[in-house]
């Protein structure tokens, strides 16, 4: 397995979707290749960052506007005044 092969499989590897055979071949390559070790670790760090929801957010104005809509929609039973498509 070459570095280029690793770069093609790194993402699937991190998703734990590689076949056993490919996973072992990739691990063997990582054992001897510092560049690929770095690459895979950096890709993993990227995923961790993107998955971290701490940054989740919305500007307050939009949140308030949607909350107002939510309040209003509850005022009348059933017919909310909004059409559902």
């Amino acid at each position: 397995m070459t570095c280029r092969d690793v770069s093609r499989r790194a993402s699937t590897y991190l998703d734990e979707d590689l076949s056993l055979r490919e996973r072992l071949a990739l691990k063997a390559h990582l054992f001897i290749c510092v560049n690929c070790r770095r690459y895979v670790a950096q890709l993993a760090a990227t995923l961790n960052l993107v998955r971290d929801r701490q940054w989740a957010g919305v500007d307050e104005e939009a949140e308030d506007r949607l909350a107002a809509m939510f309040r209003q929609s509850g005022k009348s039973d059933g017919g909310s005044g909004f059409t559902c498509t």
Binding site: R8, S11, Y39, Q42, R53, W55, G57, E63, M69
Partner: protein, 229 residues
């Protein structure tokens, strides 16, 4: 009854029950969780920011209206995104925009630019370590996220849509493929490329910019500051 901590996470059942009880706090929590990424996702279909906002707003309306009829065959988040995908697709059609999510572009399925490898398949230039990942930088994680977020916004549309669904919203591959109407194989290729691009963007700030600067070696002995790890 309202929840205790303002930012406590809700599970789906609790959240749906609260929403049906018209608990505004629960609704605001859901909006904070999803709204920003829903906008970025909608912009994968409709480029116009105002139109994307409209599509997301319509989605929230449909969610509020339809919640009582939600059959829970999927998670709440998946359901919301499926409404959003439908509305965004319709809006794109109205704007006469075709979204070719199955168009993978050049270079087959390679997530990393082939030019970065030598003929023998080795990296043409070394992968620099992310030395800048110091504790201070980690504390300033906000900045990292800003960079990642910027990179996500710059991704080609189909890649952005897949990355948001797979990695930000943590939906599984088959769900994402069916939401976007693409094959699972294409979904995977788009995801790999997107991840590689975001990693590249982060790499620009994570590799040590001060390498050429004054000597900053950490002291290995004596009383100098010592970083374990």
């Amino acid at each position: 009854m309202t929840s205790g901590a303002a930012d406590a996470a809700y599970d789906d059942d609790t959240l749906i029950a609260r929403l049906l009880e018209r608990d505004e706090r629960a609704f605001r929590w859901l909006v904070r969780q999803l709204h920003g990424m829903m906008l970025a996702f909608a912009r994968s279909f409709v480029r116009d920011a105002a139109l994307a906002e409209e599509v997301v707003q319509e989605t929230w309306v449909a969610v509020i209206d339809g919640l009582a009829r939600f059959e829970r065959r999927s998670t709440l988040k998946t359901w919301i995104y499926s409404i959003l995908a439908n509305k965004a697709r319709t809006a794109a059609q109205r704007a006469r925009r075709t979204v070719a999510f199955s168009d993978l572009g050049p270079a087959g399925g390679d997530p990393v630019d082939p030019d970065r490898f030598m003929a023998n398949g080795h990296w043409a230039s070394p992968i620099e370590p992310w030395d800048a990942m110091t504790p201070e930088r980690i504390v300033a994680g906000q900045h990292l996220w800003t960079v990642a977020r910027g990179a996500i916004e710059l991704l080609p549309e189909a890649q952005r849509a897949v990355l948001i669904l797979r990695d930000v919203e943590e939906q599984d591959g088959p769900t994402v493929a069916s939401l976007l109407g693409i094959s699972e194989g294409n979904q995977r290729v788009l995801l790999h490329r997107a991840r590689a691009s975001v990693r590249d963007a982060l790499s620009k700030i994570m590799t040590d910019p001060q390498k050429a600067g004054p000597d900053k070696k950490t002291t290995q002995t004596g009383q100098g500051p010592r970083r374990q790890s």
